[in-house]
C-alpha cells in the first residue's frame, strides 16, 4: 500500500463527474435504481469501517430508519423539505443516537456485537410498528426535496438534481472516510481485529477507537436513510428498520468488499441490478437467486467485487 501510488482520490473524482453526467443521460428507471444504490452505499461505507475492525452490525437499519424517519417527520409535521436542513438533521439524530448507544456497544465484539445491535434495532422497529402517529407499518410519504430553497419545476430535473446532490454527498463522505482510514486512528481497524491487547498496551483505548467508528458508521447510515427516504418518497419500518434491512446492508458490504471506500458504490449498484433482474426473470424465486449469488461471493470472491477491480488495476500497473 505504501509502495504503490494510491489512485483513490483521482478515481473518486472521475467517478463523481462520470456519475453526474451519466445521471443526466440514463433512462429514469436506471437513475432511480442508481440513486437508491448510492444512498445505500453511504451506509455501507460505515459498515466497511466497522468490518475492517472485525465488527459486523446486524442492526444498522436502526440508523437507516432514524435518518429516514427524521426526514419524513420533519416534512410531515414541520413542513421542512430542504435538503440543507433535512440531511444535517438526520445526521445529528443518528450521530447522537449512535454516540449514546456506542457507550454500550463498544464493550462487545464478534457475534455479541452483532446480536446487541440487532436487539436495539428491533426495539425501534417495535416502537414504529406500534405507533400509529408514526405511520405504523404503512409508514408515510415524503415530499420531493428542495435544494437551498430552489425547486426544479420538472419532476425529472428534481430527481437529477437530487442524484447529483447525492453524488457530491457520497464523494465527500468517501473522501473523508478515505482520509480517516489513512490516519493513525483509521489504521486502528485491522489492528483491533488482529490484536486488541496490543493496541491497549501501545497506549490507545480500543473501546474509544470502536466508539468513534461506531458513531461514524451510525452517522453515515443516518444520512443514507435520509437520502433513501427522499429517493423513494416514503418511509416504512419493514423495508428500512427490520432486521432484513440490516441484513441487506451487510450483504452489500461483503459483496462490495472492504478494500476501498469506492467499493460500496459499485457493490450496491450490482446488488440492485441483480435484484431487479432476478425479480423480472423469476418472480417466484428471486430470493433464491439472491441467496445463491451471496453464497457464490462468499465462496469464490471473499474480497468482494473490489478484489476483482484491484486485480485488474494491479495487472494494468505492471504493464
Amino acid at each position: 500500500m505504501n509502495s504503490s501510488r494510491d489512485w483513490t482520490v483521482p478515481g473518486l473524482t472521475i467517478g463523481l463527474i462520470a456519475a453526474i453526467i451519466l445521471g443526466m443521460l440514463v433512462p429514469d428507471w436506471v437513475l432511480s435504481v442508481i440513486t437508491i444504490s448510492f444512498a445505500r452505499a453511504l451506509a455501507v461505507i460505515g459498515l466497511l469501517v466497522l468490518w475492517r475492525a472485525g465488527l459486523v452490525s446486524f442492526g444498522h437499519a436502526l440508523y437507516y430508519g432514524l435518518g429516514a424517519y427524521t426526514v419524513a417527520l420533519l416534512g410531515k409535521y414541520w413542513g421542512v423539505h430542504d435538503v440543507m436542513l433535512l440531511i444535517p438533521a438526520a445526521l445529528i439524530v443518528s450521530t447522537v443516537c449512535g454516540f449514546l448507544l456506542g457507550f454500550i456497544l463498544r464493550k462487545y465484539r464478534e457475534i455479541f456485537f452483532a446480536m446487541l445491535s440487532l436487539a436495539f434495532s428491533m426495539i425501534l422497529y417495535g416502537i414504529l410498528v406500534k405507533t400509529e402517529s408514526l405511520g405504523s407499518t404503512d409508514g408515510f410519504n415524503v415530499g420531493a426535496p428542495t435544494f437551498f430553497g430552489f425547486k426544479f419545476e420538472d419532476v425529472q430535473d428534481n430527481k437529477i438534481a437530487f442524484f447529483s446532490f447525492l453524488c457530491v454527498l457520497g464523494y465527500i463522505a468517501a473522501l473523508l472516510v478515505h482520509y480517516y482510514l489513512r490516519s493513525t486512528l483509521g489504521h486502528l481497524t485491522t489492528a483491533i481485529r488482529d490484536n486488541e491487547i496490543r493496541v491497549e498496551y501501545l497506549g490507545y483505548s480500543v473501546a474509544k477507537a470502536i466508539h468513534i467508528k461506531y458513531t461514524m458508521s451510525a452517522a453515515l447510515a443516518g444520512v443514507a436513510g435520509a437520502c433513501l427516504a427522499l429517493t423513494l418518497s416514503q418511509v416504512d419500518p419493514d423495508s428500512m428498520v427490520n432486521w432484513t434491512a440490516s441484513g441487506e446492508l451487510v450483504f452489500v458490504t461483503i459483496l462490495s468488499g472492504t478494500g476501498n471506500v469506492a467499493a460500496p458504490f459499485i457493490g450496491s449498484m450490482i446488488f440492485d441490478l441483480l435484484r431487479t433482474y432476478a425479480f423480472e426473470w423469476a418472480p417466484h424465486a428471486w430470493q433464491l437467486i439472491v441467496g445463491a449469488f451471496l453464497l457464490l461471493i462468499i465462496f469464490f470472491l471473499p474480497g468482494g467485487v473490489w478484489s476483482v477491480i484491484a486485480r485488474i488495476f494491479g495487472a494494468r500497473r505492471k504493464l
Binding site: N2, S183, T184, I197, L202, Y204, S205
Partner: protein, 264 residues
C-alpha cells in the same frame, strides 16, 4: 523522567488471589532507574501475574503500584503506557495480518498520538516512516520489513514484539520471557540484540527468564518468586546461590553457575 531521585517503580503489599490460589503474596519491590532486573521462578510462581498487575492488565486484590511516585494501581494498560511503562509478551502480541513494518508504524502512530499529535494525521508520514525504519535496523529485523508477521519465525516475532513495546520510548520495560520458545543457540544472540538496543535507549528493564545463564549474564538484580512470594531479592551472584532459590526455583541442587557454559 521527571523524578530522578526516587524509585522508578514500586509495589507495596501487592496481593492477588484467584479463588483459593494465591498468585501474589505481599509483593514489595522497589526498582530504581538503570536497573536490569531478572524475575525468576518456577511455572505458577506468580511472575506473569506480577507483570500483569504492574502493567494494569490485572487488578491486584490489595496493595498499590507506584510509577515515579504516582499511584497507578487502578489505571488501564494504555494509561500506564502513556506514563512511561511498557511491556512485551510471552506469546508475541503482534498484528498477524500485517507486515512487520506496518506493525511498527501503527505503534509509532499511536505513540505519536499519545504525545498530543492528532490521531487523525496520516499514518504514512515521513517522520514516522523514518522512525520505523530506524527501529527495524536497531532490532536487526529490517530484512523482514515487508513480510506478514504470521509468516515470521518465532525469534523475529519476539524481537518485533519488544520493538513495538519500545516505540513509545518508555522509562520502564517489562519483558515476559523474551527467550521462551527460542532454540538454545538463538537465545543469546537474541538477548544480545535486545540488550544492546535497550541500552541505547536508556530504559530500566525487568524481565522474566527461565534460563539462569541469561539471568546471570544480563541482570544487575534478581527477584526470585515462589508460590506468590519473593524469596530472594539480590544481585544475581548472591540470589542464584541462595539455597532456597536453588531448591525452589532452579529446582536442581547440582546446578552450578559454571555447568551449562559449554552449549554456547
Amino acid at each position: 523522567m521527571s523524578d530522578q531521585s526516587g524509585p522508578l517503580l514500586e509495589t507495596r503489599d501487592l496481593n492477588k488471589t484467584f479463588g483459593a490460589v494465591t498468585a501474589a503474596d505481599n509483593i514489595n519491590v522497589t526498582v530504581v532507574p538503570g536497573e536490569i532486573v531478572g524475575i525468576i521462578g518456577a511455572n505458577g510462581a506468580g511472575k506473569t501475574t506480577f507483570v500483569n498487575m504492574v502493567t494494569g492488565y490485572l487488578k491486584p486484590t490489595s496493595g498499590t503500584v507506584f510509577l515515579r511516585g504516582q499511584n497507578i494501581t487502578a489505571l488501564a494498560p494504555r494509561q500506564i503506557t502513556k506514563l512511561g511503562m511498557s511491556r512485551s509478551f510471552q506469546v508475541p502480541q503482534v498484528f498477524l495480518t500485517q507486515t512487520a513494518f506496518e506493525n511498527l508504524l501503527e505503534a509509532a502512530g499511536i505513540a505519536d498520538a499519545m504525545n498530543g499529535i492528532s490521531a487523525l494525521k496520516p499514518l504514512h508520514r515521513k517522520p514516522l516512516l523514518d522512525k520505523v525504519d530506524a527501529i527495524l535496523k536497531r532490532y536487526r529485523i529490517d530484512e523482514y520489513r515487508d513480510q506478514e508477521t504470521s509468516t515470521l519465525p518465532q525469534g523475529i516475532r519476539k524481537l518485533l514484539d519488544i520493538a513495538m513495546a519500545m516505540v513509545s520510548d518508555p522509562d520502564v520495560l517489562l519483558l515476559d520471557e523474551p527467550t521462551s520458545g527460542i532454540s538454545v543457540e538463538e537465545k543469546f544472540s537474541l538477548m544480545d540484540v535486545v540488550m544492546e538496543a535497550l541500552q541505547e535507549e536508556d530504559v530500566t528493564v525487568l524481565f522474566i527468564e527461565h534460563d539462569m545463564e541469561i539471568v546471570e549474564r544480563y541482570t544487575t538484580r534478581v527477584l526470585a518468586f515462589y508460590e506468590g512470594r519473593i524469596i530472594a531479592d539480590a544481585p544475581p551472584e548472591i540470589a542464584l546461590n541462595d539455597p532456597e532459590v536453588r531448591e525452589f526455583v532452579i529446582g536442581d541442587h547440582k546446578v552450578g553457575q559454571h555447568q551449562a557454559h559449554g552449549d554456547r
